[in-house]
Structures are given as structure tokens and as C-alpha cells.
Subunit: 215 residues, 2 copies
């Protein structure tokens, strides 16, 4: 294994360990020693990549948007719907994503950590998709893409939080489906509505088709 590749793997192992520890313990109670133990790397390797707990938290926060990565689709509104369901589904299995979401949501983060990052990054990531959807005639003329995306990001944040508190996120897919059934009639042109898929198991199905493509 080349030196650079090994460094990338080590960095990723540290990030995943940090995400899991932040998810379980929150920012304040997390120590570098806990991350070291989980990541099974040396202290030197950790400090080489992340000089402080703050920088570790910042890096975990910045890892959130890549979890929304899915292949491009002809219908851009369906692509935005799918991103929400895929992120919801990945929250169930990925501790780094859960840790990142917890850091964004908890007010515990210290002044050095910008936990507004994920809100801005999701907005910047999704707004161009809705703008494309508008250009393709998928949206009602009343829709302001950025405003709708900001609503979506805020609502998603709270819905996953409530689902986590009440059911350990078991019902997150169903709750996202309820969100879309309430929002789509105000967003999509009527001719598109019936063709959009926002059923509760959408995330699981999209991920399964991704995996079969890779295999």
C-alpha cells in the first residue's frame, strides 16, 4: 500500500471512530483518548491529521454532505427526494453520519467549531438541483428553490431528531414520506405528482439498486 493511500485510510479510520464517539457521548464528554482507543491508531497519527478535538469535530461536521451522494437522475425533484431518503437510511447504519448530525444539532459545540456548516452545505448542495428542476418545468411557478431547500433542510433536521428520540430512528422513512406528501403538492407541477416516489422505503430501495450497480 502506498504511503499516501495509507494516510487516507488512517484519516478515515480516525474520522469514523470520532463520529461514533461524538454520536454516543456528544462533544463535551468526548476525549481524544476515547477516539484513539476506538480508531486503534497511534497518538502521533491522530495528531498528525487532527491537531485538536475542535479540528476533529470540524472534520466530522464537514463529512455530512457526501452521504447524500447518489447518481444523477433525469427528474431533479426525484433526485432531491431520493437524497433525503438515502441520508435517512444511512443514518441507521453509519455512525460517522450520526456523529456529524449530532454535532450540528447539539448546542454543546465550543466557539471554535462552526456547527452551522452542515446547514449551509446542504442548502448549497440542494439548491442547484431544485433550480435545475425549475428550469426543466418540474416546479410550480411560485417555488423559490433556495427557500424551499432551506425549509427542507430545517424540517429534515427536526424530523430525524424526533424520530431518534421516540423510536431510535426506526420510523424515519415513514416520517420523511409524510413530510413529502405534505410538501410536494406545493412544489411539483400537478402532472408530475403521481410519478414521484416518496414512499417510506424509498431510501432502502435506492441504496439496494446502488449496491447492485457496484456489484
Amino acid at each position: 500500500m502506498a504511503k499516501q493511500e495509507r494516510a487516507i485510510r488512517t484519516r478515515r479510520a480516525i474520522l469514523e471512530a470520532a463520529g461514533a464517539v461524538f454520536d454516543e457521548h456528544g462533544y463535551t464528554s468526548t476525549t481524544i483518548a476515547m477516539v484513539l482507543e476506538r480508531a486503534e491508531v497511534t497518538k502521533g497519527a491522530l495528531y498528525f491529521h487532527f491537531p485538536s478535538k475542535e479540528s476533529l469535530a470540524q472534520a466530522v461536521l464537514d463529512e455530512q454532505v457526501p452521504f447524500g451522494a447518489i447518481p444523477s437522475q433525469p427528474c431533479k425533484l426525484q433526485e432531491v427526494i431520493d437524497i433525503t431518503f438515502v441520508v435517512g437510511q444511512r443514518l441507521l447504519s453509519n455512525a460517522l453520519l450520526r456523529g456529524s448530525v449530532r454535532l450540528a444539532v447539539d448546542q454543546c459545540a465550543p466557539p471554535g467549531v462552526d456547527h452551522t456548516g452542515p446547514f449551509r452545505q446542504w442548502t448549497d448542495h440542494l439548491t442547484p438541483l431544485l433550480e435545475q428542476a425549475r428550469a426543466q418545468g418540474e416546479l410550480l411557478p411560485t417555488v423559490d428553490p433556495r427557500e424551499t431547500v432551506e425549509l427542507l433542510v430545517g424540517a429534515f433536521t427536526g424530523i430525524q431528531l424526533m424520530s431518534r428520540a421516540l423510536t431510535g430512528r426506526d420510523d424515519l422513512g415513514r416520517r420523511l414520506s409524510v413530510l413529502w406528501s405534505h410538501m410536494l403538492p406545493s412544489i411539483a407541477v400537478p402532472g408530475l405528482l403521481l410519478g414521484l416516489d416518496s414512499r417510506a422505503d424509498r431510501g432502502a430501495r435506492v441504496l439496494a439498486s446502488l449496491e447492485s450497480r457496484v456489484a
Copy 2:
């Protein structure tokens, strides 16, 4: 002042101090000493009302729903809309409410504290109002009142959180207005839509009319 009235005032002073400290520092970093200093009560008085930090947090959490108190209205959907705007407005000025919301949202609360309480309490408080709205013919036949209320509670939670992170809650009224403009067409019968008020300053106006009634 009667002894009982004094006890009620002391309890309230402690709760308000605790809410403010929890809002600023979160559950983990809050100490009883910080609450004592803010409340200006004796240690004995505090422990008489709240034997532990957990019981203090639980009491702060249980204070959330009363902040949605507004007079009954003929249009029940407008009443639900108004409750969201009034709570949003009160979040700007009331540290006890802010502390309660932070405790519900942060994952920092220890096992002894049930921070699912506010989610359940808001759902139980608002669902009968939407059921009344349905009985009065205000809602589309597709609406399931409890499902819509749960969406509303979850979405509100995340929207206020995002507004707090990005603007210190300055734009919360505008964000709530965007939420309602996206949801109402899926909830209200068309004949009602134009008559509903969900403009950004609705909370300030409802509170002002309440105060003029009291005066």
C-alpha cells in the same frame, strides 16, 4: 404574601434561572451552584423543590407546552398556526422556554431525564385541535390529524434549530411562514386558504393583541 404563594414564586424563580443556565451551558455543563447564583435563592429552597439536577431538567422540559397558551379561536387551524408563531416569538424573549427546547434537542441529557416528553406533549396538545378542525370541515379529507401534527412538531423543532444556528432565531417568523405556505395547501380546504394568516409577523401581532386584552 401567603406561604404557599411564596413557595410558588420561589419555584418559578428557580425554574426560570435553571432554564436560562441550561440554555446557555447545556445539561452537562450546568451545575446546581450556577442555578443558585442566578435564582438568588438558598440551597435549602432549591433542594426543597428539586432534589437533583435531573429533576430540575425534567421540570424545565415539562414547562414547554404552557408557552403555547393562547385564547380559543373559532377557526381551529388558525389556532394551531398561531400557537406555532407564538411559541416562535416567545423563544426570542423567554430563556426558560429556550432552555426547555435545548434540553429536548440536545442528546446530552442523562438516562434519568425523559427528553421525549415535549415531543409527546406537543403532539397530544395539538392533535385534538386539528381533530376539531376536521370536524368543523376545515381540513382536506386526506389529512390524518395526528400524522400532520407530528410532522409539524418535528419540522418546527428543526426549523427553530436552523434559525438559531444561522441567525440567532432572528428569521424564525419568516421560516415558519415558509413552512405554512408549503403545508397549508395539503391540509386546508381550498375555501379556507385565503382567509388564514401565516405571515412572518403573526406571532408578534397575536402576542400584542393578548397584551392589550390583559391591560
